[in-house]
Amino acid sequence: MNDSLATPLADTQASTDAEPLLEVRNLQKSFAIGNRFNRKYVKAIQDVSFSMKPGEVLGLVGESGSGKTTVGRCIVRLIEPTGGDVYFQGRNLAAASKKELRSLRKPLQIIFQDPFGALNPRMKVGNIIAEGMKIHNIARGEQARERAMELLTKVGLSRNHIDRYPHEFSGGQRQRIGIARVLAVDAKFIIADEPVSALDVSIQAQVINLLQDLKEEFDLSMLCISHDLGVVEHISDRVAVMYLGRLMEIGSKSDVYDNPRHPYTQSLLEAMPVPDPDRPRRDEGILQGDIPSPINPPSGCVFRTRCPLASKECAEVVPPMEEVSPGHLKACIKQ
């Protein structure tokens, strides 16, 4: 085994915790845009670090431009990170060669948002599901087909759907096929990128329940990326909040939702519409202004341009992640 791939972490994690399944350290990604005469860099993610224990569901919330999707894709290197490490089961994915990567990321799979774009329209459902089995020599031919049928029933579809094409299914059913495809390679860790955002309200709950059922049955861990605070609250054990490429706050679900300590998390929860018409509507105190462009993010704390508490110091230093209570961290210098 390559030396650089071996895990060097014993000191970082508290000794009481189980060995982390996934550890992301100082992940960075910047994109170059424009032509060679007018080149600019979009800092999509900066210095994102977190770790996850086996069997855990971490919700990653943020608005557009927060870089939450980029984090998911950088972990499996669908997008090449420009810096940082991703340790999965002790192996550094960020340092693996392309060849090693192919088998390394087998247990680490993605479910996409768009149920229309996520399945090859020219392949039958059976082949879509069996593709991963063929690639990794798990099963072939009749055996693969049988397993694909089994997986179809696992995700709430029927065995005889196997010879149909994706366009014959509704959005929710396609999402189920996408989930079966991932289960076919014995995924242990699933990155669910907005798994229900494109679905109808009455279908969302079905798919969320399915994900929860499968998580228990197959002992999965999940990184659930979503802009929907309700979905994340329901499905997650821990929650991380991102803004403009940086982590703002991370903690257990109750830490973040019931006791948010970062002003951005507070504003975000405040902005969430509440299905209670009798709650008095506050027309003041809503977070004003727009999300700044990631091409030219504010200096210091990226949130300071919209932050009600911002002061001069906020422009000077990038606030480090500080522990508020065990396991609950925030990136804000204000108390």
């Binding site: 709950a205 079905q206 902005a271 969430m272 519409p273 509440v274 299905p275 018409p277």
Partner: protein, 340 residues
């Protein structure tokens, strides 16, 4: 003219589309009215017919009008000529859409587009229209409105574009604003700003709003009254706090209970309560009540054969369900059990 009469009264509206695979009854039987100065929320999922209804009110739909009336200030819009409709659109009734990028023409400045909207309907000189446009940009909370007049849509953020759309829609002081999912494409914090803006503008200008959305939480934020649609039908109508306190139609109950987060119902093992099955294919609508295949209160022989009618029940509420009384009883029992 008394002001108590509804501003807009939609009666038995039906819109059909002829497709190679058969007739799609996008709007089957829709009744509702919008009073002056009120916000009526129309809630539904894809295929519920909520957007088709709003486009039918504007006469912007290619589908076949299969029946019904749309009375605006007592006059049937379906009888109007296209010329007369052009005088109403953008003047008496304005509309804003979900996607603020595609609703604005990318090759013209923001100011040009608002001025165009104003001079089409009002007898203003260019200078007056310009001032009016600046005023309306200011009204929707756009900072430095004069400078923004010469901006192109792509120079503005999504939230700002939606504000421009609202400014344009309101520049002619319409009596009715139809907002079709106006915040769905926006981020949560921007959505909050736009919802707040629309509440304020309604207070100040007194227009009526039809607010079309799939999001119940947004309904609670915005509406005075709510119409719930499913498969081209209105299935329930109620004042907003009544609807949220005591949803009656099984579909509405299902929608509220399946909300993820802290407001939905959880079953054992922290699962969400769900509405099973899928939204029906509009080409093959189920017999009887369109919701019956997914309804846990369904009674064979009753719900499966005959289509229920939209009927008034106590205090200003309408419902389309044969079994709402049984449902009510059952829900009451469940609630007592849960609270016990």
């Amino acid at each position: 003219m008394s002001d108590t009469r509804a501003l807009l009264d939609v009666k038995g509206l039906q819109v059909h589309f002829d497709t190679p695979d058969g007739v799609v009854k996008a709007v089957n039987d829709v009744d509702f009215e919008v009073k002056r100065g009120e916000t009526l929320a129309v809630v539904g999922e894809s295929g519920s017919g909520k957007s088709v209804t709003s486009l039918a009110i504007m006469r912007l739909i290619s589908g076949r009008n299969a029946g019904g009336k749309i009375l605006f200030e007592g006059k049937n819009l379906l009888d109007k000529s296209m010329d007369e409709m052009r005088g109403i659109r953008g003047n008496d009734i304005s509309m804003i859409f979900q996607e603020p990028m595609t609703s604005l023409n990318p090759v013209y400045t923001v100011g040009w587009q608002i001025i165009e909207a104003i001079t089409t309907h009002l007898d203003y000189t260019h200078k007056q229209a310009y001032e009016r446009a600046v005023e309306s940009l200011d009204l929707v909370g756009i900072p430095e409105p004069r400078a923004r007049m010469s901006n192109y849509p792509h120079q503005l953020s999504g939230g700002m574009r939606q504000r421009v759309m609202i400014a344009m829609a309101l520049s002619t002081e319409p009596k009715l604003l139809i907002a079709d999912e106006p915040t769905t494409a926006l981020d949560v914090t921007i959505q909050a700003q736009i919802l707040q803006l629309m509440r304020r503008l309604q207070r100040e200008m007194g227009m009526s709003i039809i607010f079309i959305t799939h999001d119940l939480a947004v309904v609670a934020e915005m509406a005075h009254r709510v119409v719930v649609m499913y498969s081209g039908n209105v299935v329930e109508e109620a004042p907003v706090s009544e609807l949220f306190k005591r949803p009656r139609m099984p579909y509405t109950i299902g929608l509220m209970r399946s909300m993820p987060g802290r407001y939905g119902y959880k079953t054992a093992k922290n699962r969400l309560e769900i509405i099973p099955g899928n939204v029906p294919n509009p080409l093959q609508l189920p017999s009887g009540c369109a919701f019956h295949p997914r309804c846990k209160f369904m009674k064979p022989g009753v719900c499966t054969t005959e289509a229920p009618k939209l009927e008034p029940i106590e205090d200003d509420r309408l419902i389309r369900c044969f079994r709402w009384e049984d449902v009510q009883e059952q829900v009451q029992q469940e609630t007592t059990r849960r609270l016990a």
